[in-house]
């Protein structure tokens, strides 16, 4: 590739106010990275306590004046966070662009709906089965396509997402375009009944999010996570160093899919009704945007991104007609001003400035007078 990129690290003073804010966030991140273990655990505990009291009406009055706050916390916010953490495994950690992530969400949801209504399976069994089905379809999608270049992979996954949706639409066995109604609620846990009150579902989704976050962090710090980082930064080099790249990419797809399936299962248990149009392409794009806006590869950033993208449209309902318009505009602006996202990890930010970890640079780029030639690909 002839692409070259400007890698000079700019000082905040050289850039505008937007960048100064970004610089402040980066400082906060660095302080976190130097924090002691007990300090970190204090923050974790504070966060969990915060999540538990979040549905309080007093908070809801400000956060969501129009709709029921607890319901908003489950969908979109909680569901988006779960999906974003799952997609982050694929996009943020392994560096594979997936534009059809909603397919796995759909598979999890349909599995709960279909096996729950037609065969009367236990809810938890259907969720588990949905997760397995999603993982299998992740492997089925990944096996033939993961050898493709980054942007081709994006389009193929997009096609896959649409295939799943249209197939659900055309298959009468799973309700066709009418979808499936009367999906059973989860059975009681420790005497807590899952009925119309949204609170139990909220705690269920918080539990799922906490589990998935722990799982994801452990993975990131393991051999698997390091292999993903190597693949993301330079796939050929990783392969030469003995990382079985294909296997690890497939694993990333399968794990991402499992988390997507889990989100689908929880969503279906609350929603009672799903149809093919519950799973449009725009949802894939939204979740991807949440990951990228928050800071792809950095879990706190991804969660923040998903929270904002789920919450802002609900909070500012007056602009409901314009929200996709604004959303699209923000994506374009964000990519121009701060492509690494609100809360990037230091490593990820460096990668993006070097042009690695993001499928390489654009073509038709020629070094300008102030390009640092030593870091351009031509010099390598």
């Amino acid at each position: 590739m002839k692409g070259d990129e400007v890698t000079t690290e700019e000082t905040p003073a050289k850039r505008g106010g937007f960048h100064a804010i970004g610089h402040g966030i980066d400082r906060l991140r660095d302080r976190w990275e130097n924090a002691k273990i007990w300090q970190r655990y204090l923050v974790y505990i504070a966060l969990v306590v915060g999540a538990l009291i979040l549905p309080a009406p007093a908070i809801g009055a400000f956060m969501s004046p129009a709709a029921d706050w607890t319901t908003v916390l489950i969908y979109p916010i909680g569901t988006y966070i779960l999906l974003a953490v799952g997609l982050n495994v694929v996009v943020g950690q392994a560096g594979l662009l997936d534009l059809g992530f909603v397919a796995f969400f759909a598979i999890g949801g349909y599995s709960v709906a279909y096996y729950g209504t037609h065969f009367g399976w236990n809810y938890w069994a259907t969720v588990a089965f949905g997760i397995i089905l999603a993982a299998v379809s992740g492997v089925i999608l990944g096996a033939p396509t993961l050898r493709l270049r980054g942007d081709y992979l994006a389009i193929v996954t997009l096609g896959f997402g649409e295939i799943v949706r249209i197939t659900a639409n055309n298959t009468d066995e799973i309700g066709g375009a009418r979808g499936i109604t009367g999906i059973p609620h989860p059975p009681p846990v420790f005497g807590t009944k899952f009925l119309l009150d949204p609170a139990p579902y909220y705690y269920l989704i918080v539990a799922a999010i906490v589990l998935v976050i722990i799982f994801s962090v452990r993975l990131q710090k393991s051999r698997v996570g390091r292999a993903w980082a190597a693949i993301r930064e330079d796939e050929d080099a990783a392969e030469l160093m003995g990382v079985p790249t294909f296997k690890f990419k497939l694993l990333a797809f399968a794990i991402g899919a499992m988390i997507g399936g889990l989100a689908g299962g929880i969503y279906a248990g609350k929603a009672v009704f799903i149809e093919p149009n519950t799973f449009p392409f725009i949802l894939s794009a939204t979740i991807l945007a949440a990951v990228v806006l928050g800071g792809s590869g950095n879990l706190p950033g991804v969660i923040l991104g998903a929270f904002l993208i789920g919450w802002l449209p609900e909070r500012f309902r007056d602009f409901a007609d314009y929200r996709i318009l604004i959303f699209g505009g923000v994506l374009v602006l964000m990519m121009a001003l701060r492509p690494e996202g609100l809360l990037p990890s230091r490593r990820r930010k460096a990668e993006l400035h070097e042009g690695t970890g993001g499928m390489g640079t654009l073509g038709a780029e020629v070094p300008g007078p102030d390009t640092d030639v030593s870091t351009t690909e031509a010099a390598k």
């Binding site: 193929v156 649409e162 055309n170 318009l325 990519m335 038709a364 020629v366």
Partner: protein, 320 residues
């Protein structure tokens, strides 16, 4: 089943050629931009959508009361194609300036460019949903705007058991003529040489005095204009449009570009037609509700087994 197939084979073939020509015109935009920038211009589908609306608005302004004939027909057709090509081409240039140029200038990654493209695509869709389409819908509760018929559905000639209609011939002929024109432009003119040089080796092109920014702009302009022509033919043939029209057609056109070998202009024509035919023939067996699934499956299969397409990849290699 076999009887069905034989009966429907020729009509499906004609239908496949018609829709395939439209895919091919849109595919040119993907293929040219990819050749020069290595970027999937995801928002190109919206450029096509804008083209359909440009033609629709022009057609509503002319308001033909009956299907046209003779010079009036040719004149209106040319007018629609010109208006759509101009509007779409201009939109594509604006798109490049707003969504891609800042990224190129700061050496953004292709991931960032793709996300910027998705953002631009959503923005344009919603803009048309909110502003443009509201004034064009004839019935409340619908999100489609329909166009008046201005080309009679007269049979021109009959092949076997199929009547080939005037409008179908117009689509295919117009598409081929426009594409031959583009091919000549890229191969014979100074601008075209600049495009090929940039696709082949941007650094060397700059050293030879090619202005990359101008070439990128011209590439978007030409690709957008092709999508605009496709939009006007679409309005003539399908007779309605909506702000969502671009999405599926865009993926199919991209499939056509990949099928023909991305970056390869003549390949785009072939890819479009092959895709149109496969989709329509497949629909005989599976039913037309599976058309989109067939097209996406073709995309996956082609990328799996021959990612460089049937005719081989790239503007540069094929025409260096």
């Amino acid at each position: 089943m076999l009887d069905d197939f034989l009966n429907q084979f020729l009509p499906s073939t004609v239908g496949g050629l018609v829709i395939g020509s439209i895919y091919a015109l849109v595919a040119l935009g993907y293929t040219m931009v990819y050749g020069v920038l290595r970027l999937i211009n995801f928002a190109h589908s919206e450029i096509f959508m804008i083209g359909t609306f440009a033609s629709l608005v022009t057609l509503l302004a002319i308001a033909p009361s009956a299907p046209l004939t003779g010079f009036a027909l040719v004149g209106v057709l040319l007018l629609l194609m010109l208006v759509s090509a101009a509007v779409s081409g201009a939109s594509a240039v604006v798109l490049e300036t707003v969504a891609y140029r800042p990224l190129r200038k700061r050496g953004g990654t292709r991931l960032a460019a793709l996300i910027s493209a998705i953002g631009a695509s959503l923005f344009l869709q919603e803009l048309f949903a909110l502003v443009v389409i509201k004034g064009l819908i004839d019935k409340p509760g619908r999100n489609q705007a329909s166009a008046p018929r201005f080309v009679a559905r007269d049979t021109l000639f009959t092949v076997g058991n199929v009547d080939v209609r005037l409008d179908q011939v117009i689509v295919v002929v117009a598409a081929v003529v426009v594409m031959v024109g583009l091919d000549q432009l890229v191969n014979k003119t100074r601008i075209g040489r600049g495009i090929r040089a940039t696709a082949q080796d941007p650094e060397a092109a700059v050293l030879m005095g090619v202005s990359i920014d101008n070439i990128v702009r011209v590439t978007f302009l030409l690709g957008g204009a092709m999508a605009g022509v496709a939009g006007s033919l679409y309005i003539m043939e399908i007779e309605n449009t909506s702000y969502l029209i671009g999405f599926v057609l865009g993926i199919k056109a991209f499939t056509a570009a990949v099928l023909g070998g991305i970056g390869n202009l003549r390949g785009a024509l072939m890819g479009g037609i092959v895709l149109g035919l496969i989709e329509n023939w497949g629909a005989i067996f599976l039913g037309s509700e599976w058309k989109d699934v067939i097209a996406f499956t073709v995309l996956v299969v082609v990328l799996m087994f021959r990612p460089t397409g049937i005719l081989g990849e790239s503007l540069q290699k094929a025409r260096a």
